[in-house]
């Protein structure tokens, strides 16, 4: 019955009736170590519990607000996401289903056993494999729902004495009364949804918002910043950026085939639009978080294609080859789509930094330089892919493209090697400065070194004549696996324990497939080329 109630209740509604939602979005709340708009909090909570940032047609703000006010009504609605097959088996859940009701999960007789196993792992401080990561997620899903429905998070009202903001259940006057009024207005609105009740509810939200900062006005966050974050959430600049890049790539490629000048111009226009959105999105993140945009996987996956594009622009000027630009655009499309597709692996939320990383100068120089070097290698990799395709189509026919492309690969690898060496050394100096050791064979730094050594081997092999044009294209594709290992693999493969891949969490299987497919591609092109040369001679 509750399900029907809510489906009807939150199904649609005119925009005027949803004015309260827009008001509620910009309510400042304190959660996970920072002050954020309620909109961001709601999106993150819904992402955690449901796996997406909107629920059917309702916005995250609406859903999460009802969790707080009438949590019990959600008890029998299947919306808690459990994906891990092993965990479903352990809890005897239906394998085909992905969503479960909070009640059936809470009352699951095997749940306490599974949770206590996790607790034992934690007490022993062991690394968690994907199964236990899934258990951990379930624990925080149910935990979040529980404390939300009790009104224990998020913090809404700052006090002068304490660092911790008061949650809905502990609110003090005047916010307490305003919140009660808000709840009453909300139930009136739910039982009879019309423009009148909607208007009243919006007014009550506004009143509540005005009341929360009265106890400690000095702790009120900047309204502009809160509004900017809501806009950032709503606009989703990186999605529009990849759409623009995709259009740009389509026009560039069609120009390469048909040679209409307008296709070229449109390609440039869309590229410029995409790049502007991409830049603006990153700038907003930097402003909101107050730190360089390279503190987690998500941020580097957004930052690296930006660097690849910049190198693309430079090399396009120097080499006069459209190939570079198309390659870097493809990288940007791939990376930005990835950030949209896999929010569970690439967490887009703005998290506070670990204490040791809180040195903006070193974080910006060291990590930015290393990730920019990855961008250069990424560019070489994409170029290698394209050039191998030219080899497949006909070496003689595409000789000029191949020659220009290989030269760009060589330049990109050179840029990458210098930047990676610099980045590794800067990392060493930072480590020496803050821990007293220049080099400690930590897996992350060691894999960065291994990647550097791989590319150095290529450069020396080219000097010695072992590697020529075709070889350079092949190597640029293969050696990017080292960068993938240093960039992604150390955190997700080594970090989660060596026996844990193949289970599914963290996207290891997709990345492995990506690497294996490229190895197969390279092998295929090499054998085709070899057999062609044999026939000729």
């Amino acid at each position: 019955m509750a399900a029907v109630f809510f489906c009807v209740g939150f199904g649609g509604g005119a925009r005027a009736e949803e004015a309260w939602l827009h008001e509620l979005k910009t309510l400042p709340v304190q959660d996970a170590g920072r002050v954020k708009p309620f909109d961001t909090f709601a999106r993150e909570a819904l992402q955690l519990v449901y796996g997406k940032r909107t629920y059917k047609k309702s916005s995250a703000v609406e859903v999460v607000f009802t969790w707080i006010l009438v949590g019990d009504h959600w008890g029998d609605i299947p919306f808690v996401e459990v994906r891990h097959a092993g965990l479903k088996e352990a809890l005897s859940l239906e394998k085909e289903k992905k969503l479960f009701t909070p009640t059936e999960l809470m009352n699951n007789p095997k749940l306490p056993v599974v949770f206590s196993e996790l607790q034992t792992k934690r007490e022993r401080q062991e690394k968690l494999n994907p199964y236990f990561q899934a258990v951990q997620r379930l624990e925080s899903q149910l935990g979040t729902l529980q404390i939300l429905s009790r009104g224990q998070i998020p913090g809404m009202q700052p006090e002068a004495e304490s660092d911790k903001w008061l949650a809905p259940s502990d609110l003090k006057s005047p916010a307490k009364e305003k919140f009660v009024a808000l709840v009453q207005s909300f139930s009136a609105y739910i039982s009879d949804k019309n423009s009148e009740t909607g208007k009243d509810l919006a007014q009550k939200v506004t009143d509540f918002k005005a009341s929360t900062m009265t106890l400690a006005p000095e702790k009120a966050p900047s309204i502009g910043k809160i509004k900017l974050e809501v806009t950032y959430n709503d606009v989703h600049p990186f999605m529009w950026a990849w759409i623009a890049y995709l259009l740009s790539a389509i026009f560039f490629i069609s120009y390469a085939v048909r040679k209409h000048p307008w296709q070229n111009s449109l390609g440039w226009v869309f590229l410029a639009v995409g790049f502007l959105l991409h830049t603006a999105g990153m700038a907003t993140r930097v402003y909101l978080a107050g730190r360089p945009p390279v503190s987690n996987m998500y941020e580097t996956v957004v930052w690296v294609p930006w660097g690849a594009l910049v190198f693309g622009f430079i090399l396009e000027r120097v080499q006069k080859s459209k190939l570079v630009l198309i390659s870097s655009t493809c990288i940007a499309i791939l990376c930005l789509i990835l950030t949209d597709l896999a929010p569970a692996v690439l967490d887009p939320s703005l998290q506070p930094l670990e204490p040791v990383l809180r040195s903006t100068f070193w974080l910006s120089t060291h990590v930015l330089v290393i990730s920019v070097s990855y961008a250069a290698f990424f560019l070489a990799f994409a170029l290698g892919d394209l050039i191998l395709y030219y080899y497949l189509r006909g070496e003689e026919k595409y000789r000029p493209q191949i020659q220009a492309g290989v030269m760009s690969i060589y330049r990109a690898i050179q840029i990458g090697v210098v930047l990676l060496a610099l980045g590794i050394i800067l990392g060493g100096i930072w480590a020496d400065y803050s821990w007293g050791r220049f080099w400690g064979w930590d897996p992350k730094e060691t894999w960065a070194l291994i990647a550097l050594l791989g590319y150095l081997a290529i450069l020396h092999g080219r000097l010695s004549g072992w590697i020529r044009q075709f070889g350079l294209a092949v190597c640029s594709v293969l050696s990017f696996s080292l960068v993938i290992m240093a960039w992604y693999g150390v955190n997700f493969v080594l970090g989660a324990g060596l026996h844990s891949y193949g289970f599914g969490a963290g996207g290891v299987e997709y990345v492995t497939a990506f690497v294996v497919l490229h190895i197969l591609y390279v092998t295929y092109v090499t054998t085709v080329r070899y057999s062609r040369m044999k026939i000729k001679s």
Partner: protein, 462 residues
């Protein structure tokens, strides 16, 4: 002969050797990272990064670098980048070698108010103390160990001889979890142990209490009451409810006496294993689940399946026919008829030559959470000046550098000690100089050379 030498030299300075060495270095490092993930950093360091293979590859690399520079002599202007980068690599490796051989890299942990003069380093020692009269204990043997590289086994035990006695180390487990339990014994030197249950409508708890023979009593403070296992000499204290258990004349029997805060005797009697008695307040009842007139704490270690910060190294050894486990950072008493030995497996400690005192330790939190955003220590130098050591802000003193590394916390998560890492690095400036040369050398190599060549002659294709 000279042609043969020439051939060898040609190979040593060849690019082919360079490529081989670079790939070897990469391969060995990759193996190291896998071992590090499987076990821990120490394991990977000892068995890979500081192994003879690694040194061999490094030496080959240096020979290659030097040979290629000798081969190109006299150097031309456009080779500046190449020479700089290669000299830079050699210097960096040299600096790293000096750091490793002559440097100190240790930690120091102290709680507020404590003074420390010693630094704990990674090297592990086996130390044996001996006592002839049972009182005065003095060190009789200190042996550096490297069990990771030289693993003892049942077949080839590591024998440690001291006087007439010896211990034979038969197993080393690098990562293991400690488990302890009390077991009955028949040795004169062991004291009694009791496992009891305290129960009323609200409370239900079970505990072991073990008294060592040399101590007159062992007390367990449970808040509202204190449980004391005494040898009979214990006098009740005022201000606390006490249950005193002491030996009876009959074997297998315990005498009990319950006193309240005002030192008034509430009840007394005798009790046996699996019997109980009323304490006379709060409806509490005490059950003796197990009584061992002589017990010893048996420590065993089980191998950890995967790496964990709680797992640590342990050795298993034989002494006069009996087997014992000994974990790193702990010690064990061994008794013979007339002698007592203490065996300790510990991290080596170095004397700094001057003390440091922790005056204050503070943790900053991200707002509204338990998550640490920063931590810092205020320490007092020997000249009584107070200085702040925080993350990214170390203290330099008498050639040593002190860094805020981490902190230790108790079960409630409250900080109990600040951990500084202490470092002395004579190779630092060589490494820095080398690094600088690598960076400028490679920039020169890739960019300026090209411009230089353009000016002097036409660039050759390909």
């Amino acid at each position: 002969m000279s042609r043969w030498l020439e051939k060898v030299f040609k190979f040593l300075c060849s690019l082919k050797l360079a490529v081989i060495v670079i790939l070897l270095l990469a391969a060995v490092s990759a193996v190291g990272t896998i071992l590090e993930a499987r076990y821990d950093a120490e394991y990977a360091q000892k068995l890979v990064y500081q192994s003879p293979y690694m040194y061999g590859v490094m030496i080959l690399l240096c020979i290659n670098l030097i040979a290629v520079m000798v081969d190109r002599w006299p150097w031309k202007k456009h080779q500046i980048g190449f020479v700089m980068a290669h000299v830079g690599i050699i210097l960096t490796l040299l600096g790293a070698l000096i750091t490793q051989k002559l440097g100190v890299d240790g930690t120091m942990s102290f709680s507020v108010g404590e003074s420390r003069q010693r630094v704990t380093v990674k090297e592990r020692d086996l130390v044996v103390y001996g006592s002839l009269d049972g009182n005065q204990v003095r060190p009789i043997l200190q042996m550096p160990t490297d069990f990771l590289r030289h693993r003892p086994s049942e077949k080839h035990p590591t024998v440690v001889q001291f006087g007439q006695d010896k211990i034979e180390i038969v197993e080393y487990v690098h990562l293991a979890f400690r488990e302890e339990r009390l077991e009955p014994s028949d040795r004169v030197a062991d004291g009694p142990a009791v496992r009891f249950q305290l129960k009323n409508g609200m409370v239900n708890m079970t505990q072991w209490l073990h008294r060592e023979k040399i101590k007159p009593f062992e007390a367990l403070n449970l808040g509202p009451a204190s449980i004391v296992l005494s040898d009979g000499s214990y006098k009740p204290k005022a201000g606390v409810n006490e249950v005193i258990l002491s030996p009876s004349r009959h074997p297998g029997e315990l005498r009990y006496a319950v006193y309240d805060r005002n030192n008034l005797l509430k009840t007394r009697g005798v009790v046996k294993e699996s019997e109980g008695f009323q304490l006379g307040w709060m409806g509490l009842e005490m059950h003796i689940l197990r009584f061992l007139p002589k017990a010893f704490q048996k420590v065993t270690y089980t191998r950890a399946e995967s790496s964990s910060p709680l797992a640590h190294s342990a050795i298993r050894f034989r002494f006069r026919g009996a087997e014992y486990w000994l974990g790193i950072g702990s010690l064990l008493r061994l008794y013979t008829e007339d002698k007592m030995f203490v065996v300790a497996f510990v991290f080596r400690q170095l004397d700094l030559g001057f003390p440091l005192t922790l005056k204050k330790f503070e943790i900053g939190h991200y707002q509204g959470t338990e998550r640490a955003s920063s931590y810092q220590s205020v320490v007092e130098k020997p000249d009584h000046q107070e200085v702040l050591v925080s993350m990214n802000e170390p203290l330099k003193l008498n050639g040593f550098t002190f860094y805020q590394a981490s902190f230790e916390k108790d079960e409630q998560g409250k900080p109990v000690a600040s951990v500084l890492s202490v470092n002395y690095d004579p190779g630092r400036w060589i490494k820095y100089l080398g690094s600088l040369m690598i960076v400028f050398g490679s920039i020169w190599l890739f960019y300026f050379k090209k411009m230089f060549l353009k000016k002097t002659k036409r660039p050759s294709g390909g």
